[in-house]
């Protein structure tokens, strides 16, 4: 009896240790999040003023903002999303509707999952090799292609998943009306799955808008304002990277402001995406 009491005591103690550990590390993780957000906001808000949105990046010591980088980032990301949406939705549709359980479909699915977590700097190197080196110049276009390669797997994956959730009866009833299958896909399945596809697109956007590594050797950055996507282009992540590593406090301040803008838009988009997918669930 005494033995079993000792044993129960030991198990209780072990369990208390386990529960304590879980609570401790969860607190630790949440504290890290809070600390990162706290320093982002406190350091970033001080740097944000009207000039940030109206002037281009300065040389050290002169006043300036992030206008060229913001516009560049928006243009590069927008083009990347257009490319990625076309390829991603079509590829996801093929996987869900045409591929079945075939070998080639499984291979594509597998490679897509690998590409989903492939190191982004290698995509930058790859695009440098196909679009920058042969054409002798960095370009916003090359940056957009690099980001598109990172966004496609996310969109493909979510498109396939939400299309597979649509009931077979939906396809059958549309086909029974005599509709060609491509119109069933376009007018019925894509519509029914639209909130899921939009969620995927938003998550892909959130992923690429903070990416820095693939832009280093592609869009390169530009100190001046530019609409020209065939030339090198300023963008927020690279400006943050360069200014954060600079020795000048005013440039560091701009880097924090830029980081706050990027993080706020990424987190905002993520929250919107979650909201949409929550709404979509019951259907």
């Amino acid at each position: 009896m005494a033995l079993s009491a000792a044993r129960i005591g030991r198990r209780r103690a072990q369990n208390a240790l386990f529960v304590g550990f879980c609570i401790l590390v969860t607190t630790l993780a949440l504290t890290a999040l809070a600390l990162i957000l706290y320093s982002l906001v406190t350091q970033g808000i001080g740097g944000i003023n009207l000039r940030v949105f109206t002037m281009s990046t300065p040389a050290a010591g002169s006043p300036g903002g992030l206008l060229n980088a913001i516009v560049g980032s928006i243009m590069i990301c927008a083009l990347a999303m257009v490319i990625a949406l076309v390829i991603g939705i079509l590829a996801g549709t093929w996987l869900a509707e045409y591929a079945g359980d075939g070998r080639y479909g499984s291979l594509i699915r597998f490679l897509n999952d690998v590409l989903l977590s492939a190191p982004s700097i290698l995509i930058g190197l790859f695009v440098w090799q196909i679009l920058v080196f042969p054409f002798h110049g960095y370009s916003g276009l090359a940056g957009a292609v690099a980001l598109a390669i990172l966004a496609v797997p996310v969109i493909t994956r979510t498109t396939e998943d939400v299309l597979k959730l649509q009931p077979t009866s939906l396809r059958e009833s549309a086909v029974a009306l005599g509709t060609p299958f491509w119109r069933v896909v376009r007018s019925v399945l894509w519509r029914a799955a639209s909130s899921g596809i939009i969620t995927g697109a938003l998550l892909a956007f959130a992923r690429i808008s903070g990416e820095t590594a693939p832009l280093l050797f592609t869009a390169f950055g530009n100190q001046f304002f530019s609409w020209n996507m065939a030339g090198s282009m300023a963008n927020l992540p690279l400006v943050i990277f360069n200014f954060a590593n600079s020795a000048y406090p005013d440039l560091n301040k701009l880097a924090w402001a830029g980081a706050l803008i990027v993080a706020a838009s990424v987190l905002g988009v993520t929250i919107v995406a979650r909201f949409i997918s929550k709404d979509a669930k019951p259907s």
């Binding site: 386990f18 529960v19 590390v25 999040l33 982002l40 509707e97 999952d113 977590s117 980081a259």
Partner: protein, 322 residues
């Protein structure tokens, strides 16, 4: 276009409805097929181009590229043992830190968390996963590094008796950057993703399995460690390896804080450089043999991460697709 519109478009049997637009079907099918094949082609092209671009360096330095540690752009001699070793070391350290924490967070969310808090905490963890890596890097450099230097590195170095093993491990410059600092930042970058995946896996364990274990009188810790975690074992290993894949290839967060030195690190506080940070720092100024050596480094990283990610996916395949 809705279903209502489809029927409105074909009001009378003027024409066989099935004929309308059905000749576009092959085009649509082909377009979808081509898009899917683009994925395969891209991954294949990445591999082939990295191999072609890195070939001059591989041909010149051979196995020495992997085993020697000389990175000398002046003499044009490159051996990447340092960055390769640092990449593996930093990723391993980051995993060692991140895995227990990610596990604890997932267990807390599934077994211990009051239901009211489950959603907000889960969302917070997912938000942590969404913060761009450059923000982690900046935070690491400006906020974490000074604190780390003052409260961890300097005390650890002065506490370590001279000549002991600890003095060797804690060697380096106590400025807050270096291998261990990079590993810690990296750990916090990959842990939310690992925690969220593990939480989703644990949620797939049937309630009967968990409840029968509780019914036998098992404590929470015993249920998790002896019943639910073994139940999702393969998936959990897969999730950890996905995290490892990210840790190996992560660039910006590491570049900010690792210190960027090509020498073999002498201790955990010493500066180093991973494959990704080396490429990020040097590629824009490189040409000729140095560019080729950097691309060859990229090839090495590609092969390592591909192997890890492929293995991770195979482990996860029999679990619910996550």
């Amino acid at each position: 276009m809705s279903t209502a519109e489809i029927s409105a478009a074909d009001p009378a049997p003027r024409r066989l409805a099935s004929a309308r637009g059905s000749r576009f079907e092959p085009f649509f099918h082909t377009a979808c097929f081509v898009a899917a094949t683009t994925l395969l082609a891209t991954l294949g092209a990445v591999l082939v181009l990295l191999a072609i671009g890195g070939w001059p360096a591989i041909a010149k330095f051979g196995v020495g590229f992997l085993t020697q540690n000389t990175w000398d752009p002046v003499a044009d001699v490159y051996g990447a043992a340092g960055p390769i070793l640092d990449t593996l070391l930093v990723a391993a350290l980051a995993m060692a830190i991140a895995m227990p924490i990610a596990g604890g967070v997932a267990f807390f969310l599934v077994e211990l968390c009051p239901p009211v808090l489950r959603r907000p905490i889960g969302t917070a963890v997912e938000l942590l996963a969404g913060i761009p890596s450059i923000v982690y890097g900046m935070w690491g450099l400006f906020v974490f590094a000074p604190v780390f230097a003052k409260w961890v590195e300097i005390p650890a170095m002065s506490a370590a008796p001279a000549g002991s093993i600890w003095a060797t491990i804690f060697q380096g410059i106590p400025n807050g950057t270096g291998l261990l600092a990079a590993s810690i930042i990296l750990a916090f970058m990959i842990l939310p993703f690992m925690a969220a995946t593990l939480r989703d896996l644990l949620a797939t364990v049937p309630a009967q399995v968990r409840e029968s274990a509780y019914g036998l009188g098992a404590t929470t810790g015993e249920v998790v460690m002896k019943v639910t975690l073994p139940y999702v074992r393969r998936g959990a290993i897969g999730a950890a390896m996905l995290g490892l894949g990210r840790a190996l290839g992560e660039t910006m967060a590491v570049t900010f804080i690792i210190g960027n030195s090509h020498d073999f690190p002498k201790g955990l506080f010493d500066a180093g450089s991973t494959i990704a940070s080396t490429i990020a720092n040097e590629f824009n100024e490189a040409s000729g043999m140095q560019a080729s050596a950097l691309i060859a480094l990229g090839l090495v990283l590609f092969l390592i991460t591909f192997a890890v990610l492929a293995l991770a996916r195979l482990m996860l395949r029999n679990q619910a697709r996550l």
